[in-house]
Symmetry: C2
Subunit: 427 residues, 2 copies
């Protein structure tokens, strides 16, 4: 294949004519497919459905502490669920608080608490002139939406295959007391699939923040969400590394079963130092009498232990692998050598990040839409939805079948080609 950049005008025009013909053909097929949403498929949801009637016997209603789990109480979760998350996330049980159905809500509440109540006795951010957050890009739109919603200034930090640019992170965090946090998805990052290197994690743990209430928001959303099992990623344990570095209170780690059991009907947890946990509990006890302990118990009974979760995740991986392969194969086959886009092969998580030529992402998404394929809006992976280079597209290959994905990807690569030819032709 000849790279588009090496084509002369004539070759580009002839390529464009062919592509347009093909585009019209695909358009006429009335395709309606969606690669925009990081949602599990029905077959994945079926994996956890036996959990829903597992609370059959009344024995299940008594927790470890002999409390009736159907009644009020236990604001930071049932013991059994704390144990399960502690084993799964490899941290001490006293670092675990088990919440409701959403780690996103926990993060929102952490920021909200910091705004109004302050973190560990520090000045509430709403009393400060300026609060800044570092945002590795491309990243998760819902993280950025939280900080934007609270009027926090977001600063882009480039992300490569080892994680965020740590020179820049250190410069900002150690130098500017207005920098109060950084969003991270350290493993199988959304959308790039990046796995933070050991050096990256260590440098995070060894930050010397100018702000006493700076925290690393460590959204370990895909901790056990492997796709290619022969190549499972491990990252260093943030809890241990921060303790070793003498920075035990510098992080909030989040996780949930949203993509293990049910999005919306799962269980989420906050993992943090006992000092931070006690601070969080101060507002938590005002906010609620407790989360859904019966749902916590459902999860405990269904999985029993970390091995149970890991075995379950292999079933998810078996479903997801052909989907990721369908997309990755299509990208490689259709775009390899053309030098009009790049992507990393993720080893896990829910997404594939695609980089177009500069200035092409919006156009690709627009063209896809015209042919019946919905993509995540270009720019969504950047704070304020502003991807200045206009290159970042998130592909979500989980919801549709492998056959549908093959078809959707066929449309996608065609649109990438078309947009790229347009770029080189200057129209």
């Amino acid at each position: 294949m000849k790279a588009y950049k090496d084509m002369n005008r004539e070759e580009l025009l002839s390529t464009q004519a062919q592509l347009k013909q093909e585009y019209d053909r695909l358009k006429s097929m009335g395709i309606s497919l969606d690669m925009s949403r990081g949602k599990p498929g029905t077959d994945q949801l079926d994996l956890s459905t036996p959990m829903l009637d597992i609370l059959g016997s009344s024995a299940a209603f008594k927790g470890a502490n002999n409390m009736d789990l159907r009644n009020y109480g236990l604001v930071d979760g049932i013991d059994e669920a704390k144990e399960l998350f502690a084993e799964l996330m490899e941290c001490p049980k006293d670092h675990v608080m088990v919440f409701g159905n959403s780690s996103l809500s926990i993060m929102y509440d952490l920021i909200s608490k910091a705004m109004v109540h302050g973190i560990c006795g520090n000045i509430p951010w709403c009393k400060l002139d300026k609060v800044k957050f570092l945002c590795p890009v491309p990243g998760y739109d819902r993280h950025f939406a939280i900080t934007e919603s609270f009027g926090i200034e977001m600063i882009n930090i480039p992300l490569d295959e080892n994680g965020p640019d740590m020179d820049l992170v250190e410069e900002y965090v150690n130098g500017d007391p207005a920098v109060k946090g950084i969003w991270n998805i350290p493993k199988y990052s959304n959308p790039t699939g990046v796995v933070y290197s050991d050096e990256t994690v260590r440098r995070f743990a060894n930050l010397k923040p100018a702000a006493p209430d700076f925290r690393i928001y460590w959204d370990n959303a895909y901790a056990v969400h492997h796709v290619f099992l022969e190549d499972k990623a491990r990252i260093l344990n943030i809890v241990e590394e921060c303790e070793k570095a003498g920075n035990p209170d510098i992080y909030y780690e989040l996780c949930s079963t949203s993509k293990i059991t049910f999005p919306g009907a799962g269980v989420a947890a906050l993992i943090t130092s006992p000092v931070n946990a006690a601070d969080v509990k101060k507002t938590l006890t005002i906010q609620t009498i407790g989360h859904d302990k019966l749902n916590q118990m459902r999860h405990v009974m269904f999985f029993k232990n970390a091995a149970g979760v890991n075995a379950h995740m292999e079933k998810h991986a078996a479903i997801l692998r052909p989907k990721f392969e369908a997309v990755l194969d299509c990208l490689e086959k259709e775009l390899g050598g053309l030098e009009i886009g790049s992507w990393l092969k993720p080893r896990g998580g829910y997404f594939i990040a695609f980089e177009t030529l500069e200035g092409c992402a919006k156009r690709v998404v627009e063209l896809c839409k015209g042919a019946g394929v919905v993509m995540t809006p270009a720019g969504s992976t950047y704070p304020y939805k502003k991807d200045d280079a206009d290159t970042s597209i998130r592909i979500a290959p989980t919801l549709q079948t492998p056959e549908e994905l093959k078809k959707a990807c066929e449309v996608f690569v065609l649109c990438v080609k078309l947009a790229s030819v347009e770029k080189y032709l200057g129209n």
Copy 2:
């Protein structure tokens, strides 16, 4: 019985001696009982337990809009749950947002949003010098804890058998733009059991607030929680009255199934005007992708409709009635005519409010504790836990059996007598 206030010193001393002897006898029995917590009993929880495996068939996973309820989405609740709450609370379906397991969390979030984001475009309260809330007293400690936590100044409003002192409410709300809200439990109020009169509700609906972001926080926590079925209370519908009064956006109404199904594993709803709902949704979509839709569906399948809920509440009432009667009979029998305390007979809800002689509440609770009966700490029913007259005690007669309650109440009335004699003796 001779009223204590009419006894001379000799009679008081002799009464005190008898009471002390009786107190020592009860103390020696090693009683350990609790009338402090508004928790349902195990037999009440059993009523709803069949709900827990009701999601058996996969048909249940498809909602009205054919969306898989096991997956992400529907941030303000499933249609079926909105319909159930709309019928139960007698309001239009488009006024209902169904949330997670806790109406307390909804209220906390409403205040939190008002602090940081502002209500309907108004200035966020954290930017104001002073924010005030009206608090009918005695009231619900967790309401007061929320406003205290956000640094909102709380103003006591006396509550009588028709509701709060509306002259005072109108004076504050219509006159002071710093007054941004008022807490209410309009039906079977916690702890007094008061049911707001029609005039009270109408005067609420017709307030002319000085602050555009003043809201009535209408915590209809006990809307269907009757105890004495021959005497079910009805209150005017706040939604309708506010609309009639040309004040459609002045209220947030809250309700939940915490004391219908399971505290902690129930479903809560916010009922408010479409204008307010759209405003709430702005931050809600940042905070979460959605609440637990499967639990919402469990509730819908279990109850089917409002009649189903009401039939279920009759079973609760049948369990609660003998408990309330045990306490009320004991109070009447032991304290009638002594003029050392007063209480209203509640027709529903979870509590009985008891008023001691001035300056006696703390002492009564202390004496109870000494004899093995835990009461809600005196003062809890007032903002900042400050009951200046020291008269208010909340009795929670739901968790223990009628026999246990009889015993606990025997201790309680004795302690009321002892504290009252002490008062008249001046020691």
